[in-house]
């Protein structure tokens, strides 16, 4: 009960204080470029009225789903294989590590060159940004797997694909899921950069478009708030994956 209160009331108080301070700061600065919370709310209202908010959210989620989904489909098997076969790891890991720190923004020209300005290009950027964390975590998961599981499995006569399916994969799964969670965060983070490519919907587009639209910083901030909230929701959602019985063993207190 007491903890409930803590976890509901306190954030509300902080929210009130933060919004108040924000409002006061804007008012006091005398500038009307940066919006007050109220203006942001009104901006959001306008988006809702024009039927854009939902459309944009769906569009961004759609792109992220594709890019991220492909990243999972490619990254998990790739990571597992690289984690398992030492030579493959030795051959490819350096390149993964070099490609990893390259910003999606830097990839925009490549994306346009390869995919034009359809939805494919932002999907590709989101894919790029999320495939590396997934691959790396799947790789590490296999490499850190407890030897004893492998030996037990071999003892019972498993090898080849059944060994992979029945032991290596489930043993790696908790860490793979953690990687997936991080990658989803990254995928959602780069939605703004990805939607710099000429698309005409999405929350990232909303922000970029609002910047182009002269003084619509209320919409910029509205876009930021929506991205933040949805990011939080997505994270909570993937966290549920970590609750499944098959993987919960991997997350206990250390």
């Amino acid at each position: 009960m007491n903890r409930r209160v803590l976890h509901f009331i306190l954030p509300l108080i902080t929210a009130a204080v933060a919004l108040g301070a924000w409002h006061a700061a804007v008012r006091m600065s005398g500038s009307d470029i940066f919006p007050t919370p109220l203006e942001v709310l009104r901006g959001l209202g306008e988006l809702v009225q024009r039927g854009l908010l939902l459309k944009y959210i769906v569009a961004s989620l759609f792109r992220v789903s594709w890019g991220f989904g492909l990243a999972v489909l490619v990254g998990v098997p790739l990571g597992l294989v690289l984690g398992w076969f030492r030579p493959a790891y030795a051959a490819l890991n350096p390149f993964i590590q070099i490609l990893r720190p390259i910003s999606p923004i830097a990839w925009i020209p490549v994306a346009i060159l390869w995919f034009g300005v359809k939805d494919t290009a932002p999907v590709f950027l989101i894919f790029l940004a999320s495939v590396f964390p997934i691959t790396v975590s799947a790789m590490a998961a296999v490499q850190n797997m407890q030897q004893v599981y492998l030996r037990a499995a071999q003892n019972f006569g498993l090898s080849g694909f059944p060994l992979f399916r029945r032991v290596i994969f489930p043993a790696a799964l908790p860490q793979v899921i953690t990687g997936i969670r991080i990658a989803l965060g990254v995928a959602w983070l780069v939605v703004v950069a990805a939607e710099m490519i000429a698309v005409d919907s999405g929350l990232g587009y909303l922000i970029i478009d609002a910047r182009n639209a002269g003084k619509r910083y209320d919409l910029v901030v509205a876009g930021m708030v929506m991205i933040g909230l949805i990011g939080l929701l997505l994270d909570l959602l993937v966290r549920r994956l970590e609750k499944f019985d098959e993987v919960r063993w991997g997350y206990g207190q250390r």
């Binding site: 594709w66 359809k118 639209a213």
Partner: protein, 327 residues
């Protein structure tokens, strides 16, 4: 990736690419003729001859133009950038202008900058290394015996400029409209000078086309150029047309507040103009000369290398479209 059906959200079916081609533009007044031509054509019930493709910045626009010339063989682009591309061996030609004038240097209204000289030691934001605003600034500084060495130039995407000026992180900004007009409209910007006043007939953006497209699709390009010439005339025909254009372009193409476009198209009415759009040797040679002096261009190409003026109709002969917005 063809099988992914990622076009799910495309508003218009894009698979008509085979018949129509893309023309790149940004939501700025320098590119206004692009959406106006498209809008008028569509409303006159003519065959869709091109697909305007909106970008949020020049880099992406250029990458599409260069990287996928089949999909987007033509685009509105900064004149010096088009020349620079030609210098770098890209086979494109300028076939028409997009507008004239429509740039300004704006300072904060509370600043003590009233003449070009006052910019000495100040920070001025320009849109990029191939922006004509760099040229106009260079030209004006030269007039008063100054150079870039006397001011602090920073490059900044135009959308960020008003905020930068308002927060006084820069002393002056220069780019195309509507970002300059916006600072006036919001009450903190004061125009130091308009392009039209210091460099009449100033050109910033032009229509550039891939040579392959010129060779293979002459007719379509001609129709595009005719359309742009005609809609330029149409815009300049009356203040009523300007206000109509501000409305439908802001709503359907730019996603901006129509008030802003109305403002920059009306106050004063010749802030930016859309007649006299044929590319002229003298204009470009001046640009090229200045750009060479300012270190922007090498000067390795000549007018006939980068301009194909065979498409441009005689401005005097161009007739505006017969089109009125249904109220």
């Amino acid at each position: 990736h063809g099988g992914l059906n990622l076009d799910w959200f495309a508003k218009k079916p894009e698979n008509r690419q085979s018949q129509t081609f893309g023309v790149g533009f940004l939501p700025v007044t320098c590119h206004l003729t692009c959406p106006v031509t498209h809008f008028i054509n569509k409303n006159l019930g003519e065959r869709d001859m091109f697909q305007p493709m909106r970008f949020s910045g020049f880099p992406e626009l250029k990458e599409m133009f260069l990287g996928r010339p089949k999909e987007m063989p033509a685009t509105f682009i900064l004149a010096p950038m088009a020349i620079a591309l030609r210098e770098q061996g890209v086979k494109i030609k300028i076939v028409h202008l997009g507008h004239r004038d429509g740039s300004a240097v704006v300072v904060h209204k509370d600043s003590g900058i009233f003449q070009t000289q006052h910019l000495r030691g100040k920070t001025v934001a320009i849109p990029g290394r191939y922006a004509n605003q760099r040229l106009i600034l260079y030209r004006e500084l030269k007039k008063v015996g100054m150079s870039f060495a006397d001011i602090n130039v920073v490059e900044m995407p135009p959308p960020d400029m008003p905020a930068a000026l308002q927060s006084r992180s820069v002393d002056a900004i220069t780019s195309g409209e509507p970002f300059m007009g916006q600072t006036e409209l919001d009450g903190y910007g004061r125009t130091l000078w308009q392009a039209k006043d210091v460099w009449p007939g100033f050109i910033s953006c032009v229509l550039a086309v891939q040579e392959d497209a010129i060779r293979d699709h002459r007719d379509e390009i001609q129709r595009l150029v005719n359309g742009i010439a005609a809609s330029g005339k149409w815009i300049d025909q009356s203040m009523g047309h300007r206000m109509d254009a501000a409305q439908f372009v802001a709503k359907n193409y730019y996603n901006q507040n129509p008030r802003l476009l109305s403002y920059v198209l009306a106050k004063p009415p010749d802030r930016v103009t859309y007649s006299r759009l044929a590319p002229l040797r003298a204009d470009f040679e001046e640009i090229q000369q200045l750009a060479k002096e300012a270190g922007m261009l090498q000067g390795t190409v000549r007018f006939e290398d980068y301009v194909d003026d065979t498409f441009a109709p005689d401005p005097a002969a161009v007739q505006p479209q017969k089109f009125e917005v249904q109220k």
